[in-house]
């Protein structure tokens, strides 16, 4: 099996403080790769580096053998490496359907056709409605997304991400802010969309990570502590210390 994403000696420094330090990581194609670690471990920063939203202080990132370290974030997305955000991120004043239609346009690099009517977007309608149905938002297609409940915003964000039909999906805490009864359906949805794709997922909900992930990487204080199956990493004494020793104050 090929390697989808490879990070080599990745470091990111903020004012002398390493948020990510010497992380080397390989994500195999067509697997679900979980990333766990206490708050502030550098998981979101790692995602920002992998998708070029931040430039690394050291190290390089390779996607399917290609060095993508210096690409623009929009270009990385168009290569098929698409991320979602930890804090729900939608286009507030656009309807749910328009959110998805923008994503479908984004797939084509975004449109500069200012001389054409919005009727030109009708060709995206069927696909948009399909995606909305997939995440259970059919009834909210015409609702301004800013006024949706938080859980629905998260679902909409998934729909926009899936609209790009990315080969690789980076999900930053997809379960955060969801009620307990939604965890099951979203877990199933991720399992479904992961078929034929590579998924990297940061998640605090350990049972979810355990059931979904093929491989798990543990980060703490910006450094990679362990990598392996769920059983392997949870048996690792360093991991146990990181979770129980240093950061018992959070979560």
């Amino acid at each position: 099996m090929g390697i989808a994403i490879e990070a080599r000696d990745l470091s990111k420094q903020f004012n002398g403080f390493f948020a990510v330090k010497d992380v080397s990581l390989q994500v195999a194609e067509n697997t679900i790769h979980g990333i766990i670690g206490p708050n502030g471990a550098g998981k979101t920063t790692l995602f920002n580096l992998l998708t070029s939203f931040l430039k690394p202080t050291h190290g390089s990132i390779h996607y399917r053998g290609r060095n993508i370290t210096h690409l623009e974030p929009a270009a990385v997305s168009r290569l098929g490496l698409v991320r979602s955000f930890q804090i729900s991120s939608v286009f507030d004043q656009l309807s749910a359907r328009d959110n998805v239609r923008v994503a479908l346009q984004g797939k084509e690099g975004g449109s500069y056709c200012f001389w054409r009517s919005t009727a030109a977007l009708a060709r995206f309608d069927d696909r948009a409605d399909e995606l909305l149905e997939m995440v259970g938002l059919t009834a909210y297609a015409d609702t301004a997304s800013g006024s949706l409940a938080y859980g629905r915003k998260r679902a909409l964000e998934l729909a926009t991400t899936l609209a790009l039909e990315p080969e690789t999906l980076l999900l930053d805490e997809p379960m955060s802010g969801l009620g307990p009864e939604d965890i099951g359906p979203i877990t199933e949805l991720i399992r479904t969309v992961a078929k034929g794709r590579t998924v990297v997922m940061v998640e605090h909900n350990l049972p979810v990570v355990a059931t979904l992930s093929d491989t798990i990487t543990v980060l703490a204080r910006g450094q990679l502590l362990a990598s392996g199956t769920y059983a392997e990493v949870t048996a690792n004494p360093e991991v146990i210390t990181a979770y129980l020793g240093e950061d018992d104050d959070d979560e």
Partner: protein, 349 residues
């Protein structure tokens, strides 16, 4: 799939009917608007009517950036003013016909907009505004110092010339209908831009720049394109104004003029289609009809502005829009309540 969601939305079938009704309403609105423009110079001084239309274009252009791209430009007078100078120069000294002079002025505004936009969109928020202001001030001092702009005097007695070399525009009425045509072209450009695939992407970039980037959209290019279109339409307004008043002067390139575009847009309703036109009418009207109060105009204008912003946060047209949408909103709310299963305890999904 994720929840026992209301199976299909109740408005699926009458969608087509709704679309044709909306279309009919739209055609009616355009017809009424054009009719109002046609009789406008019979109700007020034609010169005043033309001034309103020139400033309406200016405000609409500002609104495209501010209301639809979320970019607050404090220097829009640069494009309005430079176009007015170039048009005056080409009509007076190069003997170009009015439509060509306007094209020349607008063209220069577009080039200037591309250059300044390229610099300004690198920064966000207040820094973007400051850069646009600083660049516009440079243009102001250039116009004050340069040879061809005539310094404090500006370029005076600009001939209006003959449209296409055929129709003399000397009379205010002839000039008005020419200006009305120019206005409609500019307004259509704005209308089309807002209601286009690009317009939707632009709104997305306004709402969430980072999310748009993550979807593969080159947000800088999108902003720059909007900036250039906006500068062009501002230039169109300024160019036309130079011919209307047969004058290009420092007033139109000053920061006060930039401020007026902000004022008109916010007063009329930022992010609405017709708000800036309404704002231009009100602000220009106040300046015209309150002129008898001398320097008090500014204070009265300021007071009205403060009251309006406090009372109608969305501007006049924005508030009217909201009122018009309220019945539909409540209907939707009721329908939703009827179709949604009993609420559950946690964050429902």
């Amino acid at each position: 799939m994720l929840m026992a969601s209301p199976a299909t939305s109740p408005v699926k079938t009458p969608l087509a009917a709704k679309a044709t009704a909306a279309r009919r309403r739209q055609i009616l609105a355009w017809g009424l608007g054009i009719a109002a423009l046609a009789v406008f110079p019979f109700m007020v001084y034609p010169l005043f009517a033309m001034k309103v239309l020139c400033f309406a274009l200016f405000a609409c252009s500002f609104n495209l950036l501010f209301g639809f791209a979320g970019l607050l430009s404090f220097g829009h007078a640069a494009y309005f003013g430079i176009a007015s100078y170039v048009t005056a120069e080409s009509a007076k000294y190069w003997g170009l016909t009015p439509e060509l002079s306007i094209l020349a002025g607008t063209g220069v505004a577009i080039v200037l907009g591309a250059a300044f936009g390229w610099l300004a969109i690198r920064r966000q928020g207040i820094y973007f505004s400051m850069i646009t202001l600083a660049l516009a001030q440079m243009v102001f001092f250039f116009c004050l110092q340069a040879e061809f702009t005539g310094g404090e005097d500006g370029i005076q007695s600009v001939p209006r010339g003959d449209l296409f070399g055929l129709i003399p525009l000397g009379s205010h009425m002839a000039m008005y209908y020419f200006v009305m045509g120019v206005f409609l072209i500019g307004f259509l450009i704005i209308y089309r831009t807002i209601n286009s695939p690009f317009g939707q992407v632009l709104r997305a970039v306004r709402d969430n720049d980072i999310k748009a980037t993550s979807l593969g959209i080159k947000t800088r290019h999108v902003k720059l394109a909007a900036f250039v279109i906006s500068a062009g339409v501002a230039g169109l307004g300024g160019a036309t104004k130079a011919l209307v008043f047969q004058l290009a002067s420092l007033t139109d390139v000053s920061w006060q003029a930039s401020g007026e575009a902000v004022l008109m847009t916010v007063l009329g309703g930022a992010g609405t289609l017709t708000g800036p036109v309404m704002g231009a009418l009100i602000v220009t009207g106040m300046q015209q009809y309150l002129a008898q109060f001398g320097s008090w105009v500014t204070i009265i204008q300021g007071a009205i502005f403060v009251v309006c912003v406090l009372a109608f946060r969305r501007g006049i047209v924005g508030e009217l829009d909201r009122l018009a949408k309220l019945p539909a909103f409540w209907r939707r709310r009721r329908a939703e309540r009827r179709f949604t299963p009993a609420p559950r305890a946690s964050t429902d999904f």
